[in-house]
């Protein structure tokens, strides 16, 4: 009995770690999902978002600058909804894909699967997590292109 309860708890907590609240801000969606998938605020901690927003004119080699007003509004949305879950722990970079938890979860994916044109980069969450836009990263919704289901 104890085992079943424990088992259920573990499953529940895994399922929880695999999902985050959806993007609920139209301006953020418009401005920060024009070049890539709109990453949910809970995927980075507050300090990381502040860094991202502090360097938009040289954003991973591209200019993603905003006017003052939109910049302020988006920064405040991100900071208010920043994450504190496993995926954000000890991440002092500007990348979700550099967090220790993220790296651990994705370490088994072969390089040629990532570099193929359907994916291109691990930052392209939607290429494999078919329900990433609904905030769900759970394993049952993963379909890796030219690889199939991940199980």
């Amino acid at each position: 009995m104890k085992k079943i309860i424990l088992g259920t708890m573990v499953v529940a907590s895994l399922a929880f770690s695999g999902s985050v609240p959806v993007v609920a801000d139209a301006l953020y969606q418009k401005e920060c999902a024009s070049c890539h998938f709109g990453y949910q605020p809970a995927l980075l901690n507050k300090a990381s978002w502040e860094k991202v927003m502090g360097s938009l004119s040289d954003h991973f080699g591209t200019d993603a600058s905003l006017n003052k007003e939109d910049h302020q509004a988006i920064l405040s949305y991100l900071v208010r909804n920043a994450g504190n879950g496993k995926i954000t722990t000890n991440n002092d970079t500007t990348r979700i894909t550099q967090s220790a938890y993220f790296k651990k979860e994705h370490r088994k994916i072969p390089l040629n699967v990532i570099t193929q044109k359907e994916v291109g980069s691990l930052a392209n969450c939607m290429a494999c997590h078919t329900t990433a836009d609904k905030g769900s990263y759970s394993e049952r919704d993963i379909v890796v292109p030219n690889y199939g289901r991940w199980e």
């Binding site: 070049c35 998938f37 040289d58 991973f60 591209t62 200019d63 905003l66 980069s121 392209n124």
Partner: protein, 138 residues
């Protein structure tokens, strides 16, 4: 009579070509004034010059060769693709994507970013006006 026919013909052509809406016309006038102020020989924007600029290659922000066509392709009626992220980009041509070049704020923002990415600096008023004069004909 011939003149009249010609005029009718021309105005039909003009109707078929896309036109800037009022706020965009005001923006183009401001660009034109700015271009004149910095260059006394300036006498109007030129779509042909804009096309050449659009297709020309430069050492971009990332230190690799890039042009406007790298992301938007050479045919503005086609979908493009963001070379940095693989995300697809809807056509720039207003004739197939009517929302294009209709919102000054959007246009200013993307020209600032895209010129920085391609030329490693902001565009001049003349360059921006030329390129917009080209895109509007597409």
């Amino acid at each position: 009579m011939k003149k009249l026919l010609l005029m009718v013909g021309l105005s039909i052509l003009a109707l078929q070509a896309q036109e800037f809406n009022a706020p965009m016309q005001t923006y183009m006038q401001a660009l034109s004034l700015e271009a004149k102020n910095t260059d006394s020989t300036f006498n109007g924007f030129d779509a042909k010059r804009g096309e050449t600029l659009f297709q020309s290659k430069h050492m971009g922000k990332k230190g690799v060769e890039i042009s406007c066509t790298t992301c938007h392709t050479i045919n503005l009626k086609n979908n493009g693709q963001n070379v940095n992220t693989n995300k697809s980009i809807l056509p720039l041509a207003p004739s197939v994507n009517t929302g294009r070049l209709s919102d000054v704020k959007e246009v200013e923002k993307w020209l600032r970013r895209n010129f920085n990415d391609v030329l490693n600096r902001e565009g001049t008023a003349r360059e921006k006006g030329d390129v917009l004069s080209y895109i509007i004909t597409q």
